[in-house]
């Protein structure tokens, strides 16, 4: 009897030992070897990014010219003044605009510059004196006696980052410094709205993050016209010649690009890389049959049917084989001899003077009639040189719109300098850079947070080191971009935000995320059951037996005691 008891005891111990080995060694080993590799992600930082508190800081310098402040007042002028303006967009996004205003009096050199005969010359010589950094502004307050501005204009906005503000005559009398400053404040605000970021622009740039409230509806078409921020754009000019039998067209696109487009793009170089190419397409018809309008003696296309125009053309345009940047298409359509002249009618059935139209986030088309340049009985084909100045004027305007160079009308009393040969003032570039930085930050945060959410939800996705690296670099760049925006370094902010968006997109669209995306649990069970079932059943049964025996023994012990 004793030996059987020993045997039973040994059996129990063996079962316990096996169970222990399976639990301590086998299960962790199995778990370890079958788990998907998931690199560490900076989850806490990403969570922080989910709540975005952006602060945009702009440096503003207010310079009082001689004759605007008295020497006594000069001493009392505060050195700096900080203005904060806070907006809460939604529960997770808030904006704060900070204008750091510095006050000083003009130097002698500046006084000389302000004594130039015209505002444009003053603007130029002020610019040569000192170049203000990206994102900052200088406002010169000039006395009412100054002849720089025409009589009914108060503010002149230059081509660079300077503005001239003339004090009107009424405030001159008996004013104190406080009065002067309160007088300046609303005007300063207006200048800042025009030359720096405006709240509308910034909220529009946040549209990737923030669902637009119905109240903002009317600004949607405006915001959607421009292309989304991207590290590069391809600009393609296409000359469509549906009738090579009659027209042999020549266009000096190389020269025209050099003269008209390149200066603008050079100026925009900090925003994105641009590449330009051109092509000629023959036998490409528009998708709409023009209607003959007897009263005008021309063929016409209604604005209603413009939506159908590019469909057949688009198939011939060809996408850029060598890059994946968005393409801006500019088409110059020369109607065939049988359908000339061709005019586009607007909604009021009036001919559009430029004979051109553009489509948001796609490009523009211009119709160029050539029938006036040759006699009807001329021998076909006729050689025709296209007037590139006319064409490029239209394309340049469309390009500005499509790139989002906002052209809001100036408030009354404002005089703007003509944009000159470059076609873009410095402050316009700044505006664009502000909104692009914010847009990049918004897009990158959305991408990163949704990627983190996705990875969190689907446990099967493999996260390899490369993705983890991209995510971390995106997060660091984002933090840097936000910090630079706060510090008011616009150039760096844009740079970092571009890096952030690139890294986040690369991480989000990495193909390695898809490998094990769909590996359902029932298949896993099907594979493991033949192994686990025969192994676990004896272990479980013997464990149950041991437990029940132990319980019985204890009960017997109690019974004995009793």
């Amino acid at each position: 009897m004793a030996t059987t008891e020993v045997e039973r005891r040994r059996g129990q111990l063996a079962a316990l030992a096996i169970a222990a080995v399976v639990i301590v060694l086998g299960v962790p080993l199995w778990w370890k070897t079958t788990e998907t590799y998931r690199a560490w992600l900076p989850v806490s930082h990403i969570k922080e990014l989910d709540i975005l508190q952006l602060q945009l800081s702009a440096d503003v310098e207010v310079v009082f010219a001689r004759g605007t402040v008295t020497p006594e007042q000069q001493k009392k002028v505060p050195l700096t003044l900080t203005q904060d303006d806070e907006h809460i967009i939604d529960e997770s996004t808030s904006l704060r605009y900070r204008y750091e205003t510095k006050y000083r009096t003009a130097t002698i050199m500046e006084e000389d510059a302000l004594n130039q005969p015209t505002a444009a010359e003053a603007d130029l010589s002020l610019h040569t004196l000192s170049e203000s950094p990206c994102g900052s502004l200088v406002v010169y307050v000039i006395p009412e006696t100054s002849s720089l501005l025409p009589q009914d204009d108060e503010v002149y906005i230059g081509q660079r980052r300077t503005a001239l503000l003339r004090i009107s005559a009424q405030t001159k009398v008996g004013r104190t410094l406080e009065q002067l400053l309160t007088y300046l404040e609303p005007r300063m605000k207006q200048i800042l709205q025009v030359m720096s970021f405006s709240h509308n622009d910034i909220t529009a740039a946040l549209s990737d993050r923030v669902r637009l409230s119905p109240g903002n509806k009317e600004s949607i078409p405006d915001n959607m016209r421009a292309f989304k921020s991207s590290p590069g754009y391809e600009i393609t000019f296409s000359l469509l010649n549906p009738d090579p039998h009659s027209h042999r067209l020549q266009w000096d696109i190389e020269g025209a690009v050099e003269t008209y487009i390149q200066p603008l793009l050079t100026k925009l170089a900090p925003l994105a890389n641009f590449s330009i190419d051109s092509q000629m397409l023959y036998y490409t018809m528009l998708g709409v049959n023009p209607r003959f309008d007897g009263s005008r003696g021309t063929y016409t296309i209604n604005s209603d049917s413009l939506a159908h125009v590019i469909n057949p053309v688009e198939a011939r345009l060809g996408s850029n084989a060598a890059s994946s940047n968005p393409v801006l298409n500019f088409l110059l359509y020369v109607p065939d001899a049988a359908h000339s002249p061709l005019h586009i009618l607007d909604r009021q059935k009036q001919e559009v003077t430029s004979n051109a139209f553009h489509s948001p986030r796609w490009g523009g088309i211009m119709v160029y009639n050539v029938n006036g340049f040759y006699e009807p009985e001329a021998a076909l084909p006729v050689d025709i040189n296209i007037n590139m100045a006319k064409v490029m004027g239209v394309f340049l305007a469309q390009l500005r719109l499509l790139l989002g160079v906002q052209s809001s009308s100036p408030p009354p009393g404002f005089l703007m300098a003509p944009c000159g040969s470059v076609g873009l003032a410095d402050w316009e570039l700044d505006r664009l850079m502000w909104s692009r930085s914010v847009e990049n930050v918004a897009t990158a945060t959305t991408t990163i947070t949704s990627l983190a959410q996705l990875l969190d939800q689907i446990g099967n996705i493999v996260i390899n080191d490369n993705i983890a690296k991209q995510v971390s670099s995106a997060v660091t760049s984002l933090q840097l971009a936000v910090a630079e925006l706060e510090a008011g370094n616009l150039g760096f902010a844009l740079q970092y935000s571009k890096e952030a968006i690139l890294a986040s997109e690369r991480a989000f669209f990495d193909p390695s995320l898809l490998h094990l995306l769909y590996f359902p649990d029932d298949q896993k069970f099907a594979i493991y059951i033949p192994l686990f079932l025969p192994m676990c059943v004896p272990i479980l049964l013997s464990l149950l037996k041991i437990v029940s025996e132990a319980r019985k023994k204890r009960r017997e012990k109690f019974a004995k005691k009793d």
Partner: protein, 653 residues
């Protein structure tokens, strides 16, 4: 292997599929903006180009209601652009009729050669050549295109391509029946590219290039990877100018399995300046082209000399399309051919952009008109030396109005009179097959025939065999006329499993009037179960062998390359008068590999687990059960005895 092919709707679908998803998106947008366009607005000019937006609030509220459901959808709206005209520069050219336009720097030619074959089939070969006097090589960014297609130009400049040759072929060219093609190509897809020597990462560039080309031509070129790419050391020399012969910059790959159909033809036609709207390209209707015995389309890009001194270089883009129509499937017993019958189109005009547009009909075998009759007759005759033979052609110049006659359309008609006459046997041809039985080993036989009566000439043989056929290179034998024929040059690069294929190149002298046999044994590898194709029992393709050779010519070849020759005779550069270059492709091979049952992995898992479970179960029992000695039960005799004893009342045993 077969695929439904040839209906117009499929072509359209293919075109849609190709022109990137952007087109689809546009479609959606446009259908959406049909009713949303009421919301369009106008941009009004202001002082300096800045336009203000005047909202059309009346219609706006209405459409805003409509689009509240999907505020995220970006609405494509059309707006009239109104701008102040910039003051034109005084130097800007005025629009108008210029008496003499600037000399165009590019030139386009088109050409169709029709050759009646002795078998009664008909061979039509289209060639379109675009010459562009520009310099891709010097690193200048070329971005303004006129006749040259932009997509290919971008590919050349982005990937620093020096030469690019790509062909898609459906069917096998039967050299013994049809003679030599003007431009040979292997079945399936073939791509070979010379990169410029400025490229540092050739393999990476090659990978990217194949992906881009795959998109341009709607083909599976993206399946080209290191396992089917080789760097031939001698067989593929640059065909254009430039004496870069470092084969580090060469990549060659074939996809013998590629099926060519309308979706490949549509993007190919799009590269032509006139598209398929005018000129010879109107004949390229897919439903007829693919109803043929052989179809091959190719794109060749190379730099060529502009003149004799070669001071200026230009880029040449040749698009060729070769097709052989079968008499028996569509001739309805009559030996009669016309353009309309072949292509279901007639010609009415040349492409207005083409500087030359010609149709050649090979009438060499028909000097007196006793074999066949061509209508309308043409007085223009031309002679050209092509593939070592002097041929005579009737020429139809489409740029001349008189060619089209009074009906303003040209429908060439060829009517056979007799079916006699025999073809000159091609001087060089080759064939290949797999011998052996079972699924373990086999032997590849390549036969090369030299039909020249008295001249021997050397040929370069290139074999590229996938890694899963493990060649035993020591079994390589080359025999001609029963005797061992030692190759004078052998370049062999062994394969690496799952990394690169075998490459075997050798220079063999073919004795006159002989057949030379090259054999090599191989072993079939077992693939991993994910490496099998979706239909593994169909077999695995091995690409064609390539035989390149300078074949002795019967007539003096024309070595003057700058002369105005027909396109079909000027593709391969000719250096000597006494011989011409020729390339012959053999058949691709179809080899069966040992194919497992694909439910096997699960079976294996189940079986292993069961074995493990049984073994484990008995071990477990041994370890945990306690064993006791039991009293042996009494035997049967004893029990019976006990029963009897009980009955008798005697105590049991």
């Amino acid at each position: 292997m077969t695929r439904q092919c040839g209906s117009e709707s499929i072509e359209n679908m293919a075109a849609h599929r190709c022109s990137s998803s952007a087109a689809l998106v546009v479609l959606c947008y446009i259908s959406f903006s049909v009713f949303i366009v009421a919301n369009s607005q106008e941009t009004k000019p202001t002082v300096e180009n800045h336009a203000t937006v005047v909202e059309d609030t009346q219609t706006d509220t209405e459409t805003a209601e409509k689009s509240t459901e999907q505020p995220a959808v970006s609405v494509r709206e059309w707006e009239a652009t109104e701008t102040e005209e910039e003051t034109p520069d005084s130097s800007a050219p005025e629009t108008g009729v210029s008496s003499s336009g600037p000399h165009p720097k590019d030139d386009f030619q088109e050409e169709l050669v029709i050759r009646p074959l002795h078998s009664g089939d008909i061979y039509a070969s289209f060639q379109f050549r675009t010459l562009w006097e520009t310099d891709f090589l010097s690193g200048n960014k070329v971005s303004h295109y006129r006749l040259f297609p932009k997509s290919l130009g971008q590919v050349i400049s982005k990937f620093s391509v020096r030469e690019l040759h790509i062909s898609f072929t459906q069917g096998y060219w039967r050299t013994m029946q049809w003679g030599q093609p003007f431009l040979p190509s292997p079945p399936g897809a073939e791509l070979w590219v010379w990169f410029q020597d400025s490229v540092t990462d050739v393999d990476g560039t090659w990978k990217e290039l194949t992906n881009v080309l795959s998109g341009i031509f709607c083909a599976s070129l993206n399946f080209i990877d290191s396992t089917n790419t080789v760097q031939p050391s001698a067989s593929f020399k640059p065909l254009g100018i430039g004496n870069v012969t470092d084969h580090r910059f060469l990549r060659y790959a074939t996809l013998p399995r590629e099926i060519v159909c309308t979706e490949n033809l549509t993007p190919w036609k799009k590269l032509l300046p006139c598209g398929s709207k005018a000129g010879l390209a109107v004949l390229l209707k897919s439903e007829k082209l693919f109803h043929s015995s052989f179809h091959s389309q190719a794109v060749h890009i190379r730099p060529v000399c502009q003149d004799l001194q070669c001071k200026t270089t230009s880029w040449e883009l040749r698009q060729t399309l070769n097709v052989v129509f079968d008499l028996h499937t569509s001739g309805q017993g009559k030996r009669e051919w016309s353009l309309f019958k072949m292509f279901s189109r007639t010609l009415t005009e040349a492409c207005p952009l083409a500087s030359s547009s010609k149709i050649y009909i090979d009438i060499t075998d028909n000097p007196e008109g006793e074999q066949f009759e061509v209508t309308p007759a043409t007085p223009l005759l031309s002679q050209a030396v092509v593939l070592g033979d002097r041929r005579t052609f009737s020429v139809y110049d489409l740029t001349q109005q008189i060619t089209f006659g009074t009906v303003r359309s040209l429908n060439l008609l060829i009517r056979w009179k007799s079916s006699e006459g025999d073809m000159l046997r091609p001087l060089l041809h080759a064939e290949r097959y797999v011998a052996g039985y079972g699924l373990q080993t086999g032997e590849i036989h390549t036969l090369m025939y030299n039909n020249h009566p008295y001249r021997s000439f050397p040929v370069l043989l290139l074999e590229s065999v996938p890694w899963y056929l493990r060649l035993y290179i020591h079994t390589l034998t080359v025999t001609s006329k029963g005797k061992d024929n030692k190759p004078s040059y052998i370049h062999y690069q062994p394969s690496k499993d799952r990394e690169r294929p075998h490459l075997l190149e050798m220079l063999v002298q073919l004795p006159p009037n002989s057949a030379t046999e090259v054999t090599v044994q191989f072993e079939r590898a077992l693939l991993k179960w994910t490496e099998y194709t979706p239909d593994p029992n169909h077999g695995f393709y091995v690409g064609s062998s390539v035989i390149s050779s300078l074949v002795p010519s019967i007539v003096a070849m024309d070595t003057n390359s700058s002369q105005d020759r027909p396109l079909f005779s000027s593709f391969f550069p000719c250096k000597e008068e006494s011989s011409y270059f020729m390339r012959v492709y053999t058949e691709p091979l179809l080899v069966n590999l040992p194919t497992p049952d694909f439910s096997m992995p699960y079976n294996v898992i189940c079986l292993t687990c069961t074995v493990v479970a049984v073994g484990y179960g008995s071990l477990y029992n041994l370890l945990t059960r306690s064993f006791q000695i039991e009293e042996p039960s009494p035997g049967l005799a004893k029990r019976i005895a006990n029963i009897i004893r009980k009955l008798r009342g005697v105590p049991p045993l």
